[in-house]
Symmetry: C2
Subunit: 126 residues, 2 copies
C-alpha cells in the first residue's frame, strides 16, 4: 500500500508559543484526513525542530512513498522561493524512492485569503 | 462621521513578489467592506514600505478615528508579541485622538486554519 504523508512547513521562531497554531493545524488536518490516511508532520526552516530533512526521513522510514510539503507562509519570498527548493532537492536526493511534491504557499490560496478577509471583517466589528 | 480603517500588517521581504497575496487580500477586504467603508492599507515590519506608523498617520490624516491592525502572520512569535506592541504604542502616542486596536494574528483564527486544512487536502489529492 502506498502511504501519502503531508508535511506542514513553517518558518520557526524562538518563542515556543509561535508553533501552537501549527500544532493545531496538524491536529485539524489529521482529523480531516481520517485515521487510515498517512502521517501529518510539522517541519521548520530554522529555530525549531525537526527540520524538513528529518521530517521527510521519518515519514519515509514509516513507509511513505509520496510526501506533499505545504509551506505554511503568507507570501512567497526568499524562504519559500529559494531556501525551500534547495532543501527539497536535498530530501529528494536522500530518498530517491519517495515522490516529494511541494505545494504553493498556503497563504497564496484564495480560499485561505477569503477566510482572512472574514476574520478582518469580524475583528473590525468588535 | 467616524471612519474606521483596517491595516493589514505583514512582515515584509526583499522579494517584491512576496507582497502579492497581501495586495490581493487588501483588494478582497475592500470589496467585502464595500465602497462606503473606511480605508484598507498594508503596512510592514521591515524590508517593505510603508511601515505601521506611516500607514496609521495616513489613515488618521484621512479622518479615521478608529483603526484595527490585523497581523497577517501564521504564529505569534517575537514580531507579533514584542515588536508590534512597541510600534502600536508609538502610533497611539502620535495619534491620541485615534482608537488603535490590534487583533490576534490571522493565522491563529480557527476558520483560517480550517481553510488551510482544506488547501492541504486538495493539494495532497493532486
Amino acid at each position: 500500500m502506498s502511504t501519502h504523508g503531508i508535511i506542514l512547513f513553517g518558518h520557526g521562531a524562538r518563542d515556543p508559543r509561535w508553533a501552537e497554531p501549527f500544532q493545531r493545524l496538524a491536529d485539524k488536518l489529521r482529523a480531516a484526513r481520517g485515521a487510515t490516511a498517512g502521517p501529518v508532520s510539522l517541519a521548520f526552516l530554522e529555530l525549531m525542530t525537526p527540520n524538513l530533512p528529518a521530517a521527510v526521513a521519518e515519514q519515509a522510514a514509516s513507509g511513505c512513498t509520496r510526501i506533499t510539503v505545504v509551506p505554511v507562509f503568507f507570501g512567497q519570498g526568499g524562504h519559500v522561493r529559494r531556501d525551500l527548493p534547495n532543501v527539497i532537492d536535498v530530501c529528494r536526493a536522500a530518498h530517491p524512492g519517495v515522490e516529494i511534491r511541494c505545494a504553493v504557499a498556503a497563504g497564496e490560496d484564495d480560499a485561505v485569503l477569503d477566510a482572512v478577509v472574514q476574520y478582518c471583517v469580524l475583528e473590525a466589528a468588535r
